[in-house]
Amino acid sequence: MGAVTEAAGTHPQPAARPPVSRILRVTGPLVEMEYTGGIAMYDLVSIGPAGLPGEVVAISGDVVTVQAYEYTGGLAPGQTALPQGRPLSVRLGPELLGGIFDGLLRPLSGAGEWLLPGAHRGSAGERTWSFSPLVTEGEQVAEGQALAEIRDAGPVQVKVLVPPGCGGTVDEIATAGDRPLDTVVAVVGGTEVPVGALWPVRRPRPVRERVDSHDALNTGQRVIDLLFPVARGSTVAVPGGFGTGKTVLLQQIAKWCDADVIVYVGCGERGNEMADVITELAELKDPRTGGRLTDRTVTIANTSNMPMMAREASVYTGVTVAEYFRDMGLDVVVIADSTSRWAEALREFASRTGDLPAEEGYPAGLASAIAAFYERAAAVTTLGGDRGSVTVIGAVSPPGGDMAEPVTAHTERFVRCLWTLDRDLAYARHYPALSWAGSFSRDVPVLAAGHRTAGDPVWARRRDRVGAVLAEADRLADLVDLIGIAALPARERISVLAGRLVREGVLQQSALSERDAYCGPEKTAALADAVLTVADRCRELVDSGIPAASVEEIDFGPVLRAREDTGPHDAAGVATRRDAMLARLGEMWP
């Protein structure tokens, strides 16, 4: 035991630093410095007297090109630059939960009112964590296996794992007790393991294997869960012009989806909006744990006026944080709003380095960069043998609403689900303004199989029927515009009516609603079934000779208001309203 107390309190050995270099050129975020040996690609560099962080992006002859992550005003050739001898890495630990960080994962809570370049961003390492070992000295452990639990990290089960590429005998393990983040709490096969782990953001954390996922991520948004569901470990792009409610939709998912951990990356977005998210998450209760939503959320806030290059790193930082929690056997969702701003940062830097531009000035590597980012999403068996997943949801902001522009076009190719937000729907105040004609989910077959296995064969049929109703109503809408509703045959008039009932009674969902901002799967199913049944009954009515106009004039209030009038899981309440509606229709029977 004595050895353990010695181990506890020591810090990991810092690597030897390469020699000091000198700045040759500064133009915006591009800094060139002398190659002085011991510098590798993607190494971190501390630039100038303020020690601005930067990353090596090219080495050519004796000139090293560095991408600076902060404003470089006043930085001059001749000043020193200190290569750090390690790649851009972040420290992963329990303090991430509930925290708010910048694009390089430096805590913002401790920082000042204005973010000055090079200023110390405070440290979250002050507090201690309730450490509780799960293994004993002398035990054999493999990489990814849990060594200990952190007991006071909130509702999320945080574990200390054997680092990847390490394993063997537990030489030392600390006793239960409060430990600061950077304390070595174990020695495994000669390697020191601290509470928090340092990991380079651009390198995916290893897993045992990628697996197929049959589980849906329940987002609580009906149009998604019903029509365009996403599997855990899958990828989604959400393209939408400004004013289409993109950020509101993503925030709804961040609040209500049934993942264990949410990593929200505000990448080049609005400061006030970020402030709002932060305030709201701190106030809202998690329906599943009863804790605060913020306790399962990691927020990375890199607003549009914060340094552009940190935006480039922020999406990798976000996904690395997600992988860290995934490796504990958790389901994690990364929401990146917006990946277009990230792509713009790529373009900006490529243009400074004089890279040959491809479409619209974006670098030729844009498509592969997007693909590589989304590939970090996966459902996996972790090194420790648990099931975990990282689902990536990326917003895309097409300039001028142009869906053919490079970022949107490439992203569409690499994601499994596409939730396209439509300006016309938003203009008509139909929220979420998710276009059923312009969206897709390639996860539907596996999820349908999953539902079937779980004893719910109706799921896929319900989805198909709702989709068919919408498609038919859309087709007829064009016709109605041309010739007027009165010219349509009665059955088709009922199809138009059915479309309206599905749109208003099922798909619309207000983020501001107290009871309906979140909708459980059972209520979603009940609402869809109710509307479909009512539509069927209407069709029977006109088939029996009742004029379509009379049916259209019926007050469908009970089914249309059911979504607002019932709680998030109240399928029975929906059924009651459906029955009331059917009774009303029954009165029409000749």
């Binding site: 007297p49 303020a50 006043g74 001059a76």
Partner: protein, 177 residues
């Protein structure tokens, strides 16, 4: 960030007794000018107010409602005049201060302190441009130094200008109570 040279202060120091004295003198002059300007400005507004009252009264007698607009225009005009009067007076005192500063700094030239000042300036020039710099006397006093691709203007007028620029906020005290 740059650090100033060790004897960065020297050129400023040469002026510092002048500077304090200068500001004191300027204060005395400015007070009179500015007070007069304020009085005149107040007078303008006062007058306009009276006229505006008259306009409104007249309009009312004639049963018109538009008097208020005309009266407001009058007041706005007057306030603009008053304001520009005050601002012009402030600029006047400020420019006077600049002229006076230039004169006093130039005056150093006639004194026995000048030789020492000039020598300090020359030293400063060589410190900035290197020992090889070619230093020559400026026609207004002080020196100008040149080296390939660079020059330094340490003429007395340039020094006075720079010193005043550095005074910045202090100059405001001329017109602030």
């Amino acid at each position: 960030m740059k650090t100033p040279a060790p004897d960065f202060q020297t050129t400023d120091d040469a002026l510092s007794p002048v500077r304090t004295e200068l500001l004191r003198a300027a204060h005395a002059d400015a007070e009179a000018t500015l007070a007069r300007a304020e009085r005149e400005a107040a007078q303008l507004v006062h007058q306009a107010r009276a006229e505006a009252r008259a306009v409104v009264g007249e309009a009312r007698r004639q049963g018109e409602a538009d008097g208020a607009d005309a009266a407001r225009d009058l007041l706005v005009q007057a306030r603009r005049h008053a304001r520009s009067h005050t601002l012009a007076a402030r600029r006047e005192t400020y420019e006077e201060l600049r002229r006076e500063a230039a004169k006093r700094v130039g005056g150093v030239r006639g004194t026995d302190r000048y030789a020492a000042v000039r020598e300090r300036l020359e030293r400063r020039a060589r410190l900035l441009l290197g020992p090889g710099a070619e230093v020559s006397e400026h026609t207004d006093g002080g020196v100008v130094a040149r080296a390939p691709g660079r020059r330094v203007d340490l003429s007395l007028t340039a020094l006075a200008d720079r010193a005043l620029d550095r005074m910045g906020a202090e100059v405001r005290s001329l017109w602030e109570p």
